[in-house]
Symmetry: C2
Subunit: 126 residues, 2 copies
DNA sequence: GCTCCAGTACGAGTTAAGTCGAACTTAACA
DNA sequence: TGTTAAGTTCGACTTAACTCGTACTGGAGC
Protein backbone atom coordinates (compact mmCIF):
# COMPACT_ATOMS: atom_id res chain seq x y z
CA UNK A 1 0.00 0.00 0.00
CA UNK A 2 0.94 3.62 0.16
CA UNK A 3 2.43 3.35 3.62
CA UNK A 4 5.68 1.89 2.25
CA UNK A 5 5.96 4.21 -0.74
CA UNK A 6 9.34 5.94 -1.04
CA UNK A 7 9.32 9.37 0.55
CA UNK A 8 11.54 11.79 -1.31
CA UNK A 9 11.15 14.29 1.51
CA UNK A 10 13.91 15.64 3.67
CA UNK A 11 12.00 14.50 6.76
CA UNK A 12 13.26 11.19 8.00
CA UNK A 13 10.97 8.48 9.30
CA UNK A 14 11.52 7.03 12.74
CA UNK A 15 11.10 3.30 13.37
CA UNK A 16 8.07 2.41 15.44
CA UNK A 17 8.36 0.53 18.74
CA UNK A 18 6.72 -2.87 18.74
CA UNK A 19 3.99 -2.75 21.39
CA UNK A 20 1.94 0.41 21.07
CA UNK A 21 -1.53 1.40 22.16
CA UNK A 22 -4.04 1.41 19.33
CA UNK A 23 -4.27 4.77 17.56
CA UNK A 24 -7.40 6.81 18.13
CA UNK A 25 -9.95 6.78 15.28
CA UNK A 26 -8.48 8.39 12.19
CA UNK A 27 -9.23 8.48 8.46
CA UNK A 28 -7.56 5.79 6.36
CA UNK A 29 -4.57 6.97 4.38
CA UNK A 30 -6.34 6.68 1.03
CA UNK A 31 -9.41 8.60 2.20
CA UNK A 32 -7.56 11.69 3.45
CA UNK A 33 -8.81 14.70 1.48
CA UNK A 34 -6.53 17.49 0.36
CA UNK A 35 -9.05 20.22 1.15
CA UNK A 36 -9.43 18.85 4.69
CA UNK A 37 -5.67 18.78 5.25
CA UNK A 38 -5.28 22.30 3.89
CA UNK A 39 -8.08 23.48 6.14
CA UNK A 40 -6.47 21.86 9.16
CA UNK A 41 -3.13 23.49 8.32
CA UNK A 42 -4.62 26.93 7.66
CA UNK A 43 -4.66 27.71 11.38
CA UNK A 44 -1.40 29.24 12.69
CA UNK A 45 -1.56 27.40 16.00
CA UNK A 46 -2.01 24.04 14.30
CA UNK A 47 0.68 24.87 11.79
CA UNK A 48 2.99 25.57 14.74
CA UNK A 49 2.11 22.23 16.32
CA UNK A 50 2.74 20.22 13.16
CA UNK A 51 5.95 22.05 12.40
CA UNK A 52 7.26 21.49 15.91
CA UNK A 53 6.36 17.82 15.68
CA UNK A 54 8.27 17.54 12.42
CA UNK A 55 11.34 19.42 13.57
CA UNK A 56 11.82 17.99 17.06
CA UNK A 57 10.98 14.33 16.80
CA UNK A 58 13.89 13.01 18.80
CA UNK A 59 11.35 11.04 20.79
CA UNK A 60 8.60 8.98 19.31
CA UNK A 61 5.73 11.28 20.05
CA UNK A 62 4.73 14.07 22.33
CA UNK A 63 2.10 15.05 24.85
CA UNK A 64 -0.13 18.06 24.43
CA UNK A 65 1.48 20.38 26.92
CA UNK A 66 4.96 19.54 25.63
CA UNK A 67 4.24 22.14 22.97
CA UNK A 68 4.20 25.00 25.47
CA UNK A 69 1.04 26.52 24.07
CA UNK A 70 -0.56 29.17 26.24
CA UNK A 71 -4.10 27.99 25.70
CA UNK A 72 -6.56 26.24 27.99
CA UNK A 73 -6.75 22.49 27.78
CA UNK A 74 -10.11 22.43 26.07
CA UNK A 75 -8.77 24.56 23.24
CA UNK A 76 -5.87 22.20 22.71
CA UNK A 77 -8.22 19.25 22.58
CA UNK A 78 -10.15 21.05 19.86
CA UNK A 79 -7.10 21.69 17.68
CA UNK A 80 -5.50 18.27 18.12
CA UNK A 81 -8.78 16.62 17.20
CA UNK A 82 -9.04 18.83 14.11
CA UNK A 83 -5.60 17.67 13.04
CA UNK A 84 -6.36 14.03 13.74
CA UNK A 85 -9.74 14.01 11.97
CA UNK A 86 -8.19 15.64 8.92
CA UNK A 87 -5.57 12.88 8.83
CA UNK A 88 -2.56 15.02 9.70
CA UNK A 89 -1.58 13.49 13.04
CA UNK A 90 -1.96 10.15 14.79
CA UNK A 91 -2.75 10.05 18.50
CA UNK A 92 -2.17 7.26 20.98
CA UNK A 93 -3.18 6.98 24.62
CA UNK A 94 -0.39 6.24 27.13
CA UNK A 95 -2.04 6.00 30.48
CA UNK A 96 -3.18 9.52 31.17
CA UNK A 97 -1.24 11.08 28.35
CA UNK A 98 -2.36 11.30 24.73
CA UNK A 99 0.68 11.50 22.48
CA UNK A 100 0.76 12.81 18.92
CA UNK A 101 2.89 12.27 15.86
CA UNK A 102 2.59 13.47 12.28
CA UNK A 103 1.50 10.82 9.75
CA UNK A 104 4.63 11.46 7.72
CA UNK A 105 4.48 8.36 5.51
CA UNK A 106 0.82 8.75 4.66
CA UNK A 107 1.10 12.46 3.90
CA UNK A 108 4.28 12.16 1.86
CA UNK A 109 2.74 9.39 -0.19
CA UNK A 110 -0.47 11.25 -0.90
CA UNK A 111 0.66 14.89 -0.93
CA UNK A 112 4.40 14.93 -1.68
CA UNK A 113 6.08 18.18 -0.72
CA UNK A 114 3.32 19.40 1.55
CA UNK A 115 5.13 18.67 4.81
CA UNK A 116 8.25 20.39 3.49
CA UNK A 117 6.19 23.55 3.14
CA UNK A 118 5.18 23.22 6.79
CA UNK A 119 8.79 22.78 7.86
CA UNK A 120 9.86 25.87 5.90
CA UNK A 121 7.01 27.94 7.32
CA UNK A 122 7.87 30.85 9.58
CA UNK A 123 5.29 31.91 12.17
CA UNK A 124 3.78 35.39 11.80
CA UNK A 125 5.79 38.06 13.59
CA UNK A 126 2.91 40.33 14.65
CA UNK B 1 13.91 38.80 -5.99
CA UNK B 2 11.92 35.66 -5.59
CA UNK B 3 9.84 36.27 -8.70
CA UNK B 4 12.61 35.02 -10.98
CA UNK B 5 13.57 31.99 -8.91
CA UNK B 6 13.69 28.72 -10.88
CA UNK B 7 10.43 26.79 -10.74
CA UNK B 8 10.99 23.05 -10.74
CA UNK B 9 7.28 22.47 -11.24
CA UNK B 10 5.65 20.61 -14.10
CA UNK B 11 3.40 23.61 -14.76
CA UNK B 12 4.77 25.76 -17.51
CA UNK B 13 4.70 29.53 -17.40
CA UNK B 14 3.09 31.49 -20.20
CA UNK B 15 4.71 34.68 -21.51
CA UNK B 16 2.80 37.83 -20.69
CA UNK B 17 1.52 40.16 -23.40
CA UNK B 18 3.03 43.61 -23.35
CA UNK B 19 0.20 46.06 -22.70
CA UNK B 20 -2.01 44.87 -19.88
CA UNK B 21 -4.38 46.59 -17.49
CA UNK B 22 -2.96 47.03 -14.01
CA UNK B 23 -3.67 44.10 -11.70
CA UNK B 24 -6.18 44.63 -8.94
CA UNK B 25 -4.73 45.15 -5.44
CA UNK B 26 -2.93 42.01 -4.31
CA UNK B 27 -0.36 41.07 -1.67
CA UNK B 28 3.28 41.33 -2.75
CA UNK B 29 4.92 38.02 -3.55
CA UNK B 30 7.13 38.10 -0.46
CA UNK B 31 4.26 38.88 1.88
CA UNK B 32 2.02 36.00 0.87
CA UNK B 33 1.39 33.82 3.93
CA UNK B 34 1.25 30.06 3.77
CA UNK B 35 -1.64 29.80 6.21
CA UNK B 36 -3.65 32.26 4.09
CA UNK B 37 -2.98 30.32 0.89
CA UNK B 38 -3.90 27.04 2.55
CA UNK B 39 -7.08 28.59 3.88
CA UNK B 40 -7.99 29.89 0.45
CA UNK B 41 -7.37 26.46 -1.07
CA UNK B 42 -9.29 24.59 1.62
CA UNK B 43 -12.60 25.35 -0.12
CA UNK B 44 -13.58 22.78 -2.79
CA UNK B 45 -15.05 25.39 -5.11
CA UNK B 46 -11.92 27.52 -5.02
CA UNK B 47 -9.77 24.45 -5.41
CA UNK B 48 -11.77 23.65 -8.53
CA UNK B 49 -11.25 27.16 -9.87
CA UNK B 50 -7.50 27.16 -9.33
CA UNK B 51 -7.11 23.67 -10.75
CA UNK B 52 -9.09 24.56 -13.86
CA UNK B 53 -7.02 27.70 -14.31
CA UNK B 54 -3.83 25.64 -14.10
CA UNK B 55 -4.96 22.88 -16.43
CA UNK B 56 -6.68 24.89 -19.19
CA UNK B 57 -4.56 27.97 -19.65
CA UNK B 58 -4.53 27.98 -23.43
CA UNK B 59 -5.56 31.61 -23.23
CA UNK B 60 -3.95 34.18 -21.04
CA UNK B 61 -6.65 34.41 -18.46
CA UNK B 62 -10.31 33.75 -17.99
CA UNK B 63 -13.53 35.49 -17.00
CA UNK B 64 -15.57 34.42 -14.03
CA UNK B 65 -18.41 32.65 -15.80
CA UNK B 66 -15.97 30.78 -18.04
CA UNK B 67 -15.65 28.33 -15.18
CA UNK B 68 -19.24 27.14 -15.53
CA UNK B 69 -19.94 27.37 -11.82
CA UNK B 70 -23.60 27.12 -10.85
CA UNK B 71 -23.47 29.87 -8.27
CA UNK B 72 -24.86 33.39 -8.26
CA UNK B 73 -22.52 36.15 -9.31
CA UNK B 74 -22.15 37.58 -5.83
CA UNK B 75 -20.90 34.24 -4.54
CA UNK B 76 -18.29 34.07 -7.28
CA UNK B 77 -17.11 37.56 -6.43
CA UNK B 78 -16.64 36.43 -2.86
CA UNK B 79 -14.52 33.41 -3.77
CA UNK B 80 -12.41 35.14 -6.41
CA UNK B 81 -11.64 37.92 -4.00
CA UNK B 82 -10.67 35.39 -1.34
CA UNK B 83 -8.23 33.83 -3.79
CA UNK B 84 -6.84 37.19 -4.83
CA UNK B 85 -6.42 38.55 -1.30
CA UNK B 86 -4.62 35.39 -0.25
CA UNK B 87 -2.21 35.85 -3.16
CA UNK B 88 -3.29 32.82 -5.19
CA UNK B 89 -4.65 34.55 -8.29
CA UNK B 90 -4.12 37.83 -10.12
CA UNK B 91 -7.09 39.70 -11.58
CA UNK B 92 -7.16 42.29 -14.33
CA UNK B 93 -10.00 44.39 -15.63
CA UNK B 94 -10.67 44.21 -19.38
CA UNK B 95 -13.51 46.59 -20.02
CA UNK B 96 -16.43 44.92 -18.36
CA UNK B 97 -14.71 41.61 -17.76
CA UNK B 98 -12.42 40.77 -14.85
CA UNK B 99 -10.01 38.06 -15.86
CA UNK B 100 -8.08 35.78 -13.53
CA UNK B 101 -4.85 33.85 -13.66
CA UNK B 102 -2.92 31.88 -11.08
CA UNK B 103 0.26 33.56 -9.79
CA UNK B 104 2.31 30.56 -10.84
CA UNK B 105 5.75 32.15 -10.61
CA UNK B 106 5.16 33.69 -7.21
CA UNK B 107 3.63 30.54 -5.72
CA UNK B 108 6.24 28.19 -7.15
CA UNK B 109 9.00 30.39 -5.80
CA UNK B 110 7.56 30.66 -2.34
CA UNK B 111 5.76 27.33 -1.94
CA UNK B 112 7.35 24.85 -4.36
CA UNK B 113 5.19 21.82 -5.04
CA UNK B 114 1.98 23.35 -3.75
CA UNK B 115 0.41 23.95 -7.15
CA UNK B 116 1.29 20.42 -8.21
CA UNK B 117 -0.87 19.17 -5.35
CA UNK B 118 -3.73 21.28 -6.67
CA UNK B 119 -3.29 19.87 -10.18
CA UNK B 120 -3.31 16.30 -8.86
CA UNK B 121 -6.40 16.93 -6.74
CA UNK B 122 -9.57 15.07 -7.62
CA UNK B 123 -12.86 16.73 -6.69
CA UNK B 124 -15.05 14.92 -4.14
CA UNK B 125 -17.39 12.43 -5.76
CA UNK B 126 -20.38 12.83 -3.43
C1' DG C 1 -28.81 60.09 -24.63
C1' DC C 2 -30.21 54.91 -24.04
C1' DT C 3 -29.98 49.84 -23.04
C1' DC C 4 -27.31 45.74 -22.00
C1' DC C 5 -24.26 43.04 -19.37
C1' DA C 6 -20.03 41.54 -16.27
C1' DG C 7 -19.12 42.07 -12.12
C1' DT C 8 -19.21 44.63 -7.48
C1' DA C 9 -21.19 46.26 -2.99
C1' DC C 10 -24.18 45.85 0.54
C1' DG C 11 -26.87 43.58 3.74
C1' DA C 12 -29.02 39.64 6.02
C1' DG C 13 -29.45 34.91 7.15
C1' DT C 14 -27.12 30.69 8.13
C1' DT C 15 -23.50 27.77 9.34
C1' DA C 16 -18.95 26.57 10.87
C1' DA C 17 -14.89 27.51 13.71
C1' DG C 18 -12.30 29.33 17.42
C1' DT C 19 -12.22 30.39 22.59
C1' DC C 20 -12.86 29.30 27.02
C1' DG C 21 -14.79 27.92 31.80
C1' DA C 22 -16.50 24.35 34.42
C1' DA C 23 -17.48 19.69 35.37
C1' DC C 24 -16.19 15.12 34.38
C1' DT C 25 -13.21 10.77 33.42
C1' DT C 26 -9.44 7.98 34.40
C1' DA C 27 -4.71 6.30 35.12
C1' DA C 28 -0.91 6.84 38.36
C1' DC C 29 0.71 7.04 42.85
C1' DA C 30 1.00 7.41 47.60
C1' DT D 1 -8.84 4.94 49.33
C1' DG D 2 -7.95 9.38 48.49
C1' DT D 3 -5.43 12.76 45.70
C1' DT D 4 -3.30 14.51 41.76
C1' DA D 5 -3.00 15.57 37.02
C1' DA D 6 -3.71 14.88 31.69
C1' DG D 7 -7.06 15.30 28.89
C1' DT D 8 -12.07 15.11 27.50
C1' DT D 9 -16.90 16.63 27.16
C1' DC D 10 -20.34 19.94 27.34
C1' DG D 11 -22.28 24.27 26.70
C1' DA D 12 -22.17 29.12 25.63
C1' DC D 13 -20.20 32.91 23.45
C1' DT D 14 -17.92 35.32 19.72
C1' DT D 15 -16.19 35.76 15.36
C1' DA D 16 -15.46 34.50 10.74
C1' DA D 17 -17.00 32.38 6.53
C1' DC D 18 -20.35 30.89 3.17
C1' DT D 19 -24.66 31.84 0.48
C1' DC D 20 -27.58 34.63 -1.84
C1' DG D 21 -30.93 38.45 -3.37
C1' DT D 22 -31.05 43.00 -4.53
C1' DA D 23 -29.28 47.18 -5.97
C1' DC D 24 -25.58 49.44 -7.97
C1' DT D 25 -21.42 50.65 -11.15
C1' DG D 26 -19.31 51.29 -15.37
C1' DG D 27 -17.79 50.15 -19.98
C1' DA D 28 -19.65 48.65 -24.71
C1' DG D 29 -22.53 49.51 -28.33
C1' DC D 30 -26.62 51.29 -30.56
Amino acid sequence: MASTAPTRSAIKVLPEPSDLPEPLPEPAADTVRLEAVLGALSDPLRLRVVRKLLLEREEFDHTCNWFGLDRPKSSLTHHFRALREAGVIRQRQYGLERRSQVRVDDLNARFPGLLDLVVDWTPPTH
